[in-house]
Structures are given as C-alpha cells and as structure tokens.
Symmetry: C2
Subunit: 547 residues, 2 copies
C-alpha cells in the first residue's frame, strides 16, 4: 500500500491514552445497573448479564502477572473514522497483558465470523493502519448476528482459534446483538467474553456514560470543512442558495453539529419538525420566509442544512409513506399496468394522503412510487430531500412574488455529503478516543467481564484526564417493536430539544438566518496548535457545559 505524504507523517502519531491506562489497572465496581426502561422484560431476556455493575478502572499497584489471550474483532456496519485505531489500541492492550496474545480479525463484518473468514492481525499489519481512516484492514459488513445458528457457527471458529473474547465494533444494532451474543455464550458457558465499542458517525449511540460514539467528531469536521467552503463561495458570488443534505440516518446530530460549526442560514432539525407536528408545507414556508427576508436586504444567497432522515420525521409524510407501502404492496400488478401511475396513486390513496402526494414535485413522487427496496418499501434514504425542498421553495417564492411578498431572485444548488467523511483519517480527538476505547476493551477482557461496552469519558478534558471503564450493554436497552414483534434494543439517542446543543442553536438561528454569520472551520489539522487540532465536537462541548 503506497501511502500519501500525510499518512506517512501521521503514522508516527502516538495516540494519547488516559493516564490510568498507562499502567496496570484494576476494575472498581460501581452500583448495580438497570436498563433505561422495561426493566422486567430486559431482565428476563438477559438473566446472566442483566444488572451488572458499572466499572471504572483505577491504578493497580499490585497486579497479577498477565496470561496470553486470543481475541477476535469484528467491524460491523457503516464505516466511521477511527476504527483502525480501536483495533490498534486493542492490539497494544492485549500485547501489554502478554506479548504472546493474539488478535484475529473477522473479514467483511459479522458475516466473516459466521463463515469463518478471518486473518491474524500481526504487529506489522497493525502498523500499516495506525491513525488511518477506513475499515479496510479487515472490511466491514451489515450481516446481523441474531440467530442461535449464527452464534453456534461462530463459536466453532472461536474454539478452533482458542479465542476467549470477541470485540464487536458497531452502532446501536450491532451492540444490541453483542449483548445478546454475550448473554447466549454466558448461558451455555462457552467461555467467551463479548465486548462492544460504540461506533457511528451518526452520533445517536450515547448516554450518560457513553458520551459520544467514535467517528462523529471526524466526519462532522469533514462535512463542516466543505460546508464552510461552500458558504464562503456563496458569500463571494452572492447568487445561489445551497441546499445541503447530510448523512446521519434518523437523528439530526450531524446536521446540528455542522450548523454549530458553520452557522448556516438555515438548519432543519428532524426531531423538532416531529415534535411541532410540522408539515412539508410548513418547512417550505419557513425556508421561503428566510429567503424572502434575506432578499429584502439584497442577499439572494444562503445555505440550508438538511438531515438525511427528515422525510420520516414529517408526520404527514410518514403517514403517506405508510399508506403508499401498503397500497403498492397489495396492488403491485394493477399499479404496474396503470397508464398514468401518478394518477393511479392519487386516486387510490385516502383523501389526506392523496393531497400530500399530489403536492409533491414529479421527481420525488416518482421516487416514492418506483424506487422500492426488495420488501416493497419506499427507500427513504434515496429521496433527494434537498431537491424536493428547493423545488417547493422555488414554487412558493413564485407565489409570494405575485403577492408582492418576495422581491429577489432564487437559484438553488444541491449537495449531499456522507461518503466524504466516513473514512477520513481520524482527527486527533477520534485517534485518541478510538485508541483508548480499544485499549480499554483489552482491560475489560483482562478483568473477565462480558456484555460490557468500552466506556471512555470526561471527553472534553485533555485525553490524559479521560476516565476509563465499562458499562453493561443491557443498561442502555429498552423494548421496541421491530418487524412486528417487541425486541430488546439499545435506545437510539435522537437530538433532545431540551439539551444544550439544540438550545444553543435555537438561540442563534434567527440571527444566522437573516445576517450572514458564516464560519469557515477549514480542514482537519493534525500538526498545529492545540486549539486548532485537539478540540472535540461542539455538541460534546455544549453538552458538557450544560451539565
């Protein structure tokens, strides 16, 4: 692998560990925990791993001699910057326990575990990947570890390789499955510990003890870099409105963080749309209103940030999509044969949903009716919300112009950022955080626990002051309906409208809307002054200030 100049220089970076992890540690138990909700159900489903105590590592002045241990690691789900550092931290951690410890990586995600595809991760391989982005060291995948058959199949290869602990690096679903796997292996006394690490750029896997998931910091910095650049362009040419959609699945954490970093004219927060029961028309009116107000001041340009998951948070659209899924599933042939499919849909939907559908621009209407997944459902993530909104805003402004309420020009450009940030080289924050999460996972393994998530916190302080420990995954769980049945799952952390990051944004947005207050964060820096290179996300900083 030929390396770029930056990667060669960056390879030498030594992530900073929390001071406590630099020597021998002992796990100090806190109070027994309980799940965030549905305690009885979760307890019944996890008889062996429920109610375990929180753990915190402290210095151990009298450590026992370590023994070699074989560990397996899996990267699960979408890429996030820093995954390679979790693995290198884990590697260094188990090597510190004993130099004959071995690390095996399962290839292309959980599927490699089930299908026995693996490689040993030696020191020379690990060294190639330190401080780099991507998951390409072993690849990732989206196979869900859910069934007893999978668990048993996986156990075969664990036994064959004498692996005593499995580390699963993933998001909420993958960690849910890690907890189920931990419970199962414990119940059959398989002698394999399972440890999770909190990964996702979306930032929706967090709580009091998991302050942030890794990758969020780097990804949002990359998006903010390009958003800032676009804003500077926008403010130089003064003739376009840029509609910028941002990845992040359901939650709006990414859009909100980017808004805090770049101060755009508009940022839509899905969670607020839902709470206020806003329609698509309300959102369009809001944006058109800001465009008109800026036009009054001669500013026919601006920026709008749009979270990827928006559509599903608009109650009226949610209802429309649900009825559409139903309608098209039950009348697939008739629909396919219809001469005018748009008309067919308009005639067959309930009056309320029919009106919403009829109001949509043709392109989006087509996406809603044609681009369906193998289960026949609308592929919401494929809907070009940025174009949908700008087109509807354009129409609304044309009406306002006739009414004398809009005096300017409106021309829109569109962007979608996601893949640009998921595999960036981790920021110093993510490089340190990930390395600590992996190293800490080795300490959790050494302390003999299972069903725990690696927890490193106090993250707005310098990394040497970070606190390290573990929390039982079951304490993050509740019961939710999935595919028609109640399942134990980790509760997704959506943007809280009463929490500091959103409140900060809400207190500023009216000024940002009308004035031009753009911030230009620029690209991630790895070698400069600490105030440039070592700052955690604004979300994290405001959350901690708010405490």
């Amino acid at each position: 692998m030929k390396k770029s100049a930056l990667q060669q220089a960056r390879a030498a970076y030594q992530p900073k560990l929390p001071i406590v992890l630099t020597g021998a540690v002992k796990a100090v138990e806190g109070e027994p925990t309980q799940s965030v909700a549905d305690q009885e159900d979760i307890k019944n489903l996890f008889p062996n791993t429920y109610g375990l105590p929180e753990l915190k590592f402290e210095k151990n002045t009298n450590p026992a001699a370590g023994k070699p241990i074989n560990v397996g690691v899996i990267l699960s789900g979408g890429q996030a910057p820093g995954g390679h550092n979790v693995i290198s931290g884990l590697f260094d951690g188990i090597k510190k326990i004993h130099k004959e410890s071995k690390l095996y990586g399962f290839l292309m995600g959980p599927g490699g575990f089930v299908d026995h595809q693996y490689m040993e991760l030696t020191g020379s391989i690990i060294d190639e990947y330190r401080n780099t982005g991507g998951f390409d060291i072993i690849g990732s995948g989206r196979t869900k570890l859910e069934t007893k058959e999978q668990f048993d199949k996986g156990l075969e290869i664990l036994k064959e390789l004498n692996i005593k602990a499995l580390v699963i690096i993933g998001g909420d679903d993958s960690n849910t499955n890690a907890a189920i796997l931990a419970e199962y292996y414990k119940s059959i006394e398989a002698g394999v510990q399972v440890i999770g690490c909190p990964k996702t750029i979306d930032g929706d896997l967090k709580n009091g003890l998991i302050e942030t998931s890794f990758g969020f910091d780097t990804a949002t910095k990359v998006y903010s870099e390009v958003i800032g650049n676009i804003q500077r362009d926008c403010n130089s040419a003064k003739k376009y409105w840029h509609f910028i959609k941002l990845m992040g699945r359901s939650a709006s954490h990414i859009a909100l963080e980017c808004a805090l970093q770049t101060q755009p004219n508009i940022c839509i927060v899905s969670e607020e749309i839902e709470q206020k029961n806003m329609t698509l028309g309300d959102i369009v009116d809001y944006i058109a209103g800001v465009v008109a107000k800026r036009a009054e001041n001669g500013n026919n340009f601006g920026t709008v940030l749009i979270p990827e998951g928006l559509i599903e948070f608009i109650p009226a659209m949610k209802k429309l999509i649900a009825e559409l899924n139903d309608l098209l599933a039950h009348n697939a042939e008739e629909f396919a044969a219809a001469e005018n499919q748009r008309q067919y849909i308009i005639e067959h939907l309930s009056a309320e949903n029919s009106a919403v559908y009829a109001s949509l621009p043709e392109g989006v209407a087509r996406q809603l009716s044609l681009d369906r997944d193998p289960h026949g459902n609308v592929q919401v993530s494929l809907i070009e919300t940025e174009k949908l909104l700008s087109e509807m805003v354009g129409r609304r402004l044309a009406e306002m112009k006739e009414e004398g309420k809009f005096v300017g020009k409106f021309a829109a450009l569109h962007h979608f950022f996601g893949y640009e940030g998921r595999c960036a080289d981790p920021s110093n924050f993510d490089a340190d955080y990930c390395y600590a999460l992996g190293f800490n996972a080795a300490c959790l393994i050494n302390s003999g626990v299972t069903g725990y998530m690696s927890s490193v916190r106090n993250l707005t302080k310098p990394s040497v002051q970070w606190i390290a420990g573990g929390i039982p995954i079951t304490m993050m769980m509740n019961m939710e309906r999935r595919h028609g049945a109640m399942k134990p799952v980790i509760q997704k952390a959506l943007v809280r409208l009463d929490d500091a990051p959103f409140l900060k944004f809400a207190s500023k947005r009216d000024v940002w809307a009308v004035d031009t207050c753009y911030m230009y964060p620029g690209p991630i820096q790895y070698f400069g002054p600490a105030e440039v290179c070592d700052q955690p996300s604004m979300t994290l900083r405001y959350e901690h200030q708010g405490k």
Copy 2:
C-alpha cells in the same frame, strides 16, 4: 467576522516571497515577444501593446525613491483559493513603494468598476483576509469588460480616485479583456496601466511563462481529499462504484490532477476522447469493461472520475447538441406543443443524431431538450454526466451478464465536486504564490508597464527561489471564432496528451483499473512537515520533470 480556530492561527502565516522581491528591484527586459499564433492580426489589434519584451525582476542596488500610487483591483469570474492573498500581496507591494499609496477594490467584479462601486482597502481590512479563501473581501462577478463605453465609464472613476493602475485578477477571458483595456487606455493616453493576474481553479490558463493559474493547487487538493475518503470507504464496504464528476469547464486538468493524487480505477480525459473520436458508447464500453474485469477478481467496487466538460468533447454529442440547438431554436412553438417531445426530437433530427439521442437515458434526454439557457442553448454544465454514464454502464453490464461476460454486481453512487474547493483556505503553495503574484504586480506597476500579466515561475522549487517578472498578455493570444466573429483571445490550455502528466497517468491507468491502488491524500495541512504541507500539484511536478 467571527473566525474559526484555524483561521485565527492561519492569519499569522507570513507568505514567503521570492528572494528577489524582498528588496528593491529593477525590471530587466528580455527579447521582444510575439503572440502564440495569428501574429499579424494580433499586432494590428494591439498596436500599442504588441511585441513588448518579457520582463524579469533583478535586485536593484540603486533604487529611486518611490512615490505614492493609487491602484484599483478587480476580482473577475469564478472564485479560486488565494484571491485574498493576491490582494494582500498587492497591498503590501504598493505600501512598500510608498506608505501613502492607496488600494481601491471594485465591488462584485468588473460590474463594480463600470458602475463605480468601490471601497478603499485599508490595512485593517486587508489583515482580516490574509491567507483566507473566498473572494468575499470585495466580491466577484462575471460582467465582461468589452466595450468602449465600459472602458470610458470606468476611466471616470479611475480619474476621480486618481488611480494610475488597475489590477484584474481573472481567467483567460478576463485577462483577454485586461489586454484590450490596456491597449485602449494606452491608445488614448489615459495614463492608467493595466496588469493581469492568472486565476482559475480549472488550470487552463498556463504556458511556458505562466506555469499555473492560482487556485488549481488548493482546489484539486480539496477534491483529492474527499475523493480519497470516498475511495477508502469504497475499499472498506466493497459494494459500490462511485461516479465522481469534477468541475473544470472544458479542460480536464482537475480530473487528471485528482487522478494522479488518488489513483482511481478510471479517469476519463475529455481531450483524449476527442482526439480518439470516441463515442459515448465507446466510453461506456470502456467503463463496463473495467467493471467486469474487477468483478472477475471479486471486486464489485471502484471509482470513476469524470471531467465536467466531457459531453462537449464527445464528437457525436457535440454534433447532436449543435443540431438540437438549431432544431429547437427554429421550431420552438411546434416543439412546445408536441405531445411526446422526446418522440418529436427523434423524428426531426438527422438519422445519425437521432440514433444518438434515442440511446440516451430519459433523464438526460429531458435535460438536453428542456434545460436551455436564455439563448436557447443546451446548458451542458447542468447535464449530470455522472448519472448518464453510470446508467448506461448499468445497461451495458446487464447485456454483458446475459452474454456471460459479466459475473458481478453493479451498484453506483454519484458525486459532483466543485463548490467545495473554490473557496478553501489556500494551501501554503497557493498562499505563497498568490501573495507573490500580487506583490509582483505592484513591482510591474512601479516599473511603468501596461498590458502585462504578473508572472512568477520556477514553482516546483522552494518559494524563495521563485523567479518574478511579467509577460505581455498579447503573447498568449490568438484569433478564435466567438459568437460568429474572429476575436483575439488568450489560447486555452487544454490537457496535452503528449505532456508528462497525461503520459504518467496513461502509463499507470491499466494497473489502477484492475488492481486497487487508491491513494488517500487527506486534508490540506498548514502546520506540519514540509513534505506534507508545501508540495505543489502533481501536474506541475510532472510538467517540470518532463522538461
């Protein structure tokens, strides 16, 4: 203006000047020059400014005392990183000549010059913009300075402000107009010098003495950063082909530079397509062939770079567009009334063009027939070539699958990068180069010349070793047909297929296509080791090696 942490730290950066410009200079004349072609015509059109000598600055051990001079500056056309540094270099340059010199900026491009919209650029304003991206210090615009009326109108404000020299920062068209303005002011003895500076991210304004236009370095580094990130994602998930369109107008310099930096599986070079007289079908076959070959090795993923101007370089598409423009201009009403517009076009085009049109995916066919500019011409830049190609490749692969020639999967994602890079904070290279161009422009003014372009060269050497001087703009000109008449214009520098950057690419691409040789350049760094922070573009490096 609230500044980001990076911008605060970056404000302190002192661009490095060529050593010769750090003291007093004298202009040393070289041989008289002539235009690159059509010498007689150009000479007749520029009687006062043709045939001037090349200039090179050397140390002046016996300089005369400087006098205060008022200078005007205009940013013309699309944004390019470093424009603010040209202006700050110019400011420092004229202040060094005499501390009472004044700099006036005309607002929102050449239009501000004609309409007398301006501001004085004081030291405190300049300091706010040093080393920043964007053109927002005075804004830019696309008004073309072409008519005597404009020149005379502009002269009024120059006289009012006692401005003796005008610096026009722009691309090939803007510098062409700078030359015409210089000639005109000289011919009427207006007493105003005109100096040009070579700006454009597209990289198509260059020759032996203008080694590169500013902004190309930074913009291509930003694009290569995100392309690299996408490639790492692509190589981790191993399930998508990413079709990435890149800005750059007609020339493919940007795509080629990004290819050299990131080593994608495929990069299309428009100039090669034209030279080989390739059809859209040939390009599709080439891409589909690479997809199939990678699939044989189990690699159902990859990246394709596509230059923005491609469509116009495909001879068959060029012909189609020309006939379409004609057809729709002459039959606008009939076309508008046609029930099936696609069918209307198919029936009314010549057989050859009709076949090409019929082969296009519906979305692109619609763009070709509906999205027209005010002159009725197809807006080629709006055509989503990345989607056009991936859709046609998908169809071709489906055929190949039936023929047993393709055994893999094909799923595509699309990106277009342009606005992300035009206003990035300039790289060290562009920060130094732009500052030197501006400072050097002040030296040219001080030496009394007009119709010159600021020329700083030897750019692959450390910036202190750069050579500074000026070249007569007329020497870059030839006659070309524009709007039906022959006009003197600066010759656009397209990618040369016999030059080192393309040859390097061509020698590697077959390996890059099949193997996965991705490079991940990462974000621009400002504070790290020189090999990371101070490297000029690969294009420039190969061009110089090739000499």
